[in-house]
Symmetry: C2
């Protein structure tokens, strides 16, 4: 097995939404197609991957650094003893000569290539990725149904609370049992009324998580915690800067009854280890949301799970950010706590295979080989012209 | 004052050296030229900047994200009430719509532009940058002579210790009174003999710092600390992964007599704040080496100094990595603890103005307007064709 081609391309990810901090109108993403010298049905087999949602394209890093290392390597450097593609070994090759620290952008480039490599490995093996992951890393165990929650609840013009109620009622009708909404874009009192409206539409406050996208200083973060604690929300996400472990620790100390979630802006196991050491989070109560497509892909995600296990955390406390098919396979094959889902935003990178049905807040994965990006027509339409 | 053009280009930074972890044979850098609508001596005034040494070029991030925001902005967004360029305001413009966390690569792109903006602002003011910084940020105080140390001591083929002695004797003849050498590329016992040889050539063990470039696991880091502690080296730099604050804290706890240095791979004030909070470093004894050219430039460096001051650190404990002219201006104008110097490597980005003389371990800055890259002929030769 030899890798013959690695193509990367930037795509616009236009979206009119904005969270508390950032407009996504100019957001871009990186698509990667990696091709092997083997054929199926008369055409070369290609693995498809992408940099995930919420950080910009890292196409130049793919093209200038990571891809040339992979394509210059002897196949023995990225295959196992049986001559099969081993994405773990390919990861070591593409990240040669990279200095420690500085985990951003590069982590998106590596994540996109790594996703494509796992898609390729699973296709070459003729198996769905979740099954390959379960067998290699989880003793064959897997989840047939994966818990998902609907992330949305952005601020809207006009009667925002009425629009929020309609949006959440729609998620509930689609089969979702849990939702997440934005906070921090309105005064605290208005935001709390927003949370109440969401809970009414969702059928219970325990079904509503809230997300500040790292916006708050410590005083504001604590004021929101005081407002949210009596309500019993599902979790309070990214109150302060994602690297301010001290702020996070003071939140849990002052308001231990709240559940907290964070991690989508940590892109290395070293950062996650610091989070586990210094942020006061509790393995029995809180949630971690690292996104493998933003953070060097599966090999680094496995290292994150390792440092978390050493600190007393179960993979069940991990619910990846990003709402994409790759994380859904990880959630199934590694038995994570579930996955984010974007029913209305971040298309087409976000979302699952066409026709995926949400039942009692869970979804199932198809049995097609690989990740199944070919089964998501709007996303596959972007990839189709990039294949050889 | 209006910015009319921002040009960025990748340059190879070929070098045959390697540290304990990384080969620099394929290293690249980003050059930035930012031009104003004002002229001096009949030509448009341009500011020159570059991404610093040891991380790869970030040219695409300059071109795709940061530069377009600056060039699209109204001049009022980056000028002060007097209509003069204010690089602090320009910084806010170029980093709009960037998410928190993930501080790498982007920090190099912003650092390169920021350097060019300060060079431009100082040229437009007709003043050397160190003087502009002293007046704006340091009550007019500055250092006329800046302490520098010679960083080198890479492993060499053949009789490595003899070569090391010759190299350090050369630094001493040139006026340096302190040096830094690499460790971790040989067994501990050999490395300790290397340190002894360096101390003999340098004229004292207190003149020799050692640098592991983040290579060691905790057991090795502690074994080296045990070997180095009785010697009295100047400092023990980057023993473990730059983000492993726990490892760093255990070093200081177990071997409090050693001085430690780190920070060249931390690129944000949030990371530096975590270092100050969690790494057990001591403001009276240890050294911090953040490089403004790698970490979003001067505005972020000022924020780093702020979070450090709040934790009890003086700017005198900060000695930037990188051995370049920009940090030398910061060291003079903000009265830092000195600056790194690369007499033999990382040319032409590293190094100071032609004819700079080292006297008793210190250097002086020229009085030319701006940073004075025009006075460093090998570096200016790269920039000259990029100006309009």
């Amino acid at each position: 097995m030899k890798l013959t081609r690695l193509h990367a391309q930037t795509v616009p990810l236009r979206s009119s939404i904005r969270n508390a901090l950032v407009s996504f109108a100019e957001m871009t993403g990186t698509l990667v197609v990696v091709t092997a010298d083997e054929t199926r049905d008369g055409r070369p087999v290609s693995g498809l991957g992408f940099g995930s949602i919420g950080r910009y394209a890292a196409t130049a890093i793919v093209q200038d650094r990571l891809a040339p290392r992979l394509l210059a390597a002897a196949p023995a450097a990225y295959t196992n003893d049986a001559g099969e593609l081993d994405p773990l070994r390919a990861w070591d090759v593409m990240l040669r000569n990279e200095k420690p620290g500085g985990h951003g952008e590069r982590s998106v480039a590596a994540g996109a290539i790594d996703m494509a490599l796992w898609d390729l490995a699973a296709k070459l093996a003729g198996r769905p990725l979740w099954r390959l992951l379960a067998d290699r890393f989880n003793g064959g165990r897997h989840d047939a149904a994966i818990s998902v929650y609907a992330a949305g609840g952005y601020y809207q013009d006009g009667d925002d609370r009425a629009a929020l109620r309609r949006e959440i009622a729609g998620y509930r009708e689609s089969g979702y049992t849990a939702v997440k909404i934005k906070i921090g874009g309105a005064p605290l009192a208005d935001d709390l009324r927003r949370v109440e409206a969401a809970a009414e539409a969702a059928g219970g406050m325990e079904r509503v998580a809230v997300d500040a996208n790292g916006r708050f200083d410590e005083a504001t973060a604590l004021a929101y915690a005081a407002g949210l604690a009596p309500l019993g929300v599902r979790w309070y996400e990214e109150a302060g800067d994602p690297l301010d472990y001290g702020l996070q620790a003071r939140l849990a100390e002052r308001f231990p009854g709240l559940a907290y979630a964070t991690g989508e802006n940590l892109f290395s196991h070293q950062d996650v280890r610091n989070l586990a050491r210094h942020a006061g989070l509790r393995p029995a109560r809180d949630f971690l949301q690292m996104d493998p497509a933003l953070s060097y892909g599966l090999p680094e995600y496995l290292r994150m799970l390792d440092v978390l296990r050493a600190a007393g955390w179960s993979p069940r406390r991990c619910i990846p950010h990003g709402g994409h098919q790759f994380s859904l396979h990880l959630a199934a094959g590694l038995q994570l706590g579930g996955n984010e889902s974007y029913p209305g935003v971040f298309q087409p990178l976000g979302g699952f295979a066409d026709g995926t049905v949400v039942t009692d807040g869970t979804v199932r994965l198809p049995d097609a080989p690989g990740i199944g990006i070919e089964l998501k027509s709007d996303l596959f339409a972007l990839f189709r012209p990039l294949r050889p």
